[in-house]
Amino acid sequence: MTAVSDRRQLAYIASQAADARVNVELETEGMTLNIGPQHPATHGTLRIVARLDGEQVVSADPICGYMHRGYEKLTEVRSFPQVTTLVNRIDWLGSFANEVPFILAAEKLMGIEAPPRAQYIRTILFELSRIANVSLFLGDMGVQLGALTAVFYAFRDREYVLNQIEAATGGRFHPNFDRIGGLKDDLPKGWIAETRACMDKMRTFCDLMEDLLVGNEIFAERTRGIGVIPRDVALSYGLSGANLRASGVDFDLRRDQRLPMAWDKAEWKVWTHPDGDSFARYWVRLQEVRESTRIVDQLLDSLPSGPVMAKVPRIIKVPEGEAWVSTENPLGEMGYYVVSKGDTGPFRVKIRSASFNNIAVASWVLKGTFVPDVITILASLYFILGDIDR
């Protein structure tokens, strides 16, 4: 404890000295700007402590932990089926996608696989989560830059997708629908046609966002060349998902690993962008939503018939072992390192959430930027607080 407070004191003295030096050399006053924990641009309670020299950020330190719920500890006192309730709430905008890698890890340890129909429906719901999650980002990015119009369309159109998720699972935000061995239920009657219509609406929504924001000169001015993350930095920080692909890395876990899911049954493309700036991150996500609607459409066309649940014992005991499963979630690579000791519950679960790595890069990328760009960059990195704090 003493070492920590000593270090804090030293850091404080050093910062005072830095202020004094700045005053003498540049005749500007260094100041500390607290962005958050309660700030409209932070999507929750992330706090950024930024030291400024005039309009320029000298250093920025994200402070997290305001929403830490200790899920890794809680998983150790629960049984396997009970954990999905917890992990639902990690990335709350794309909840179903959080359940899938955990269930897959448990199934991997048990050596079972969901029936084909369940795999297809899982993939469809997974992609619907992505569309619901990322479409909100597509509108929200405009708000962060002062363009209010887009977000109203985003909230309206996201609701169409949430309605479909609710119709299939019973929950708008926390479906808790995935089970070890399959799914809780089959799809309701009429759902497939409704989802097709919904996907058409989402494609129109993407075109709208393209017109409103991507083609907007002010938007381009505010995002192009802002917050550039080069390829090697992105990899070293462990950025994943669209943030990594926007830095020119052609890597998508849906395509690049074998999982008992149905992504390989559809034709789709992994989009990358060479620039690594805020614009690139927005653009890649926009294309991703379009590809997701294509995946959903194709899987609905080829949906196999059959059961949605494999034969599993009523009391699930997972054999001893260790398993790592990660999937390409809306925010990036989401994975679970599950250790089982042959009990009804996991022995240890390490949750690798995408936003934790994605926001760790903030202190690197914010250094030397200007205050208005701080919000642009944070928004374009796209994090969910629950996904950082777990």
Binding site: K73, V77, R78, L235, Y237, L259, I315, G335, Y337, R352
Partner: protein, 214 residues
């Protein structure tokens, strides 16, 4: 686990190659390995070769992508799953420490996962840390992302990362004492009140079986 139409090959040249290159680089720094063909790879590293292993993984194996770094406490929890009646004396529980894949010789183990986005392969590295004074070299100079993960591991498990530039709390308040993810750290919510969810499967009304295990 492989998908249905493409069964896993019995040998895995890609991952065996990784092990061979890592052994050539580190010598006896590689203590043990566990390979599941076509699926995953675990390598246990000697504690003093941890930093060299990180550098070798990045520069020799081409695993530039940093996935995560964390730790495992292999001590079985002395509190079970929090299902005990607080008015009764706690039941006897086994405290035998049994490590997982690739073995181990200590209660606490550090594990990290790195991958190559070109070869589309990843591996998990493990290392023992001493029980009495858990410490290991930092990876923050090798993978920038390890900085935050080591801060989290330090506060959750009490493992000190030598050479870390900024080892302070990330989630918990600065004054917090103890290391919550260690197994001997009690989950207080379960200590004060029994949790009803511990009864997971109740007999169904008119059900034919009473929930057979296995």
């Amino acid at each position: 686990m492989s998908s249905t139409e493409a069964p896993a090959p019995p040998t895995d040249e890609l991952r065996e190659g990784l092990v061979a290159r890592l052994r050539a680089e580190l010598g006896d720094g590689v203590v043990d390995t566990h390979l599941v063909p076509g699926d995953d790879l675990w390598v246990r590293i000697r504690t003093d070769a941890w930093q060299a292993a990180g550098t070798a993984a990045r520069d020799v194996l081409g695993c530039e992508y940093f996935c995560f770094l964390s730790a495992i406490d292999w001590l079985p929890s002395p509190y079970g799953k929090g299902e005990d009646d607080p008015t009764e004396p706690p039941p006897e529980r086994s405290s035998a420490i049994v490590q997982g894949y690739a073995g181990g010789g200590s209660r606490l183990q550090v594990l990290a996962r790195v991958g190559s986005v070109r070869a589309k392969v990843a591996l998990t590295l493990k290392a023992d840390v001493a029980d009495d004074e858990p410490r290991i070299a930092t990876w923050s100079g090798i993978y920038a992302g390890a900085n935050w993960h080591e801060r989290e591991t330090w506060e959750m498990f009490g493992i000190v990362f030598d050479g870390h530039p900024d080892l302070r709390h990330i989630y918990l308040p600065t004054e917090f004492e103890g290391h919550p993810l260690r197994k001997d750290f009690p989950l207080l919510a379960r200590m004060v009140k029994p949790w009803p969810g511990i009864v997971d499967v109740e007999p169904l009304p008119g059900g034919d079986d009473a929930g057979e295990a296995e």
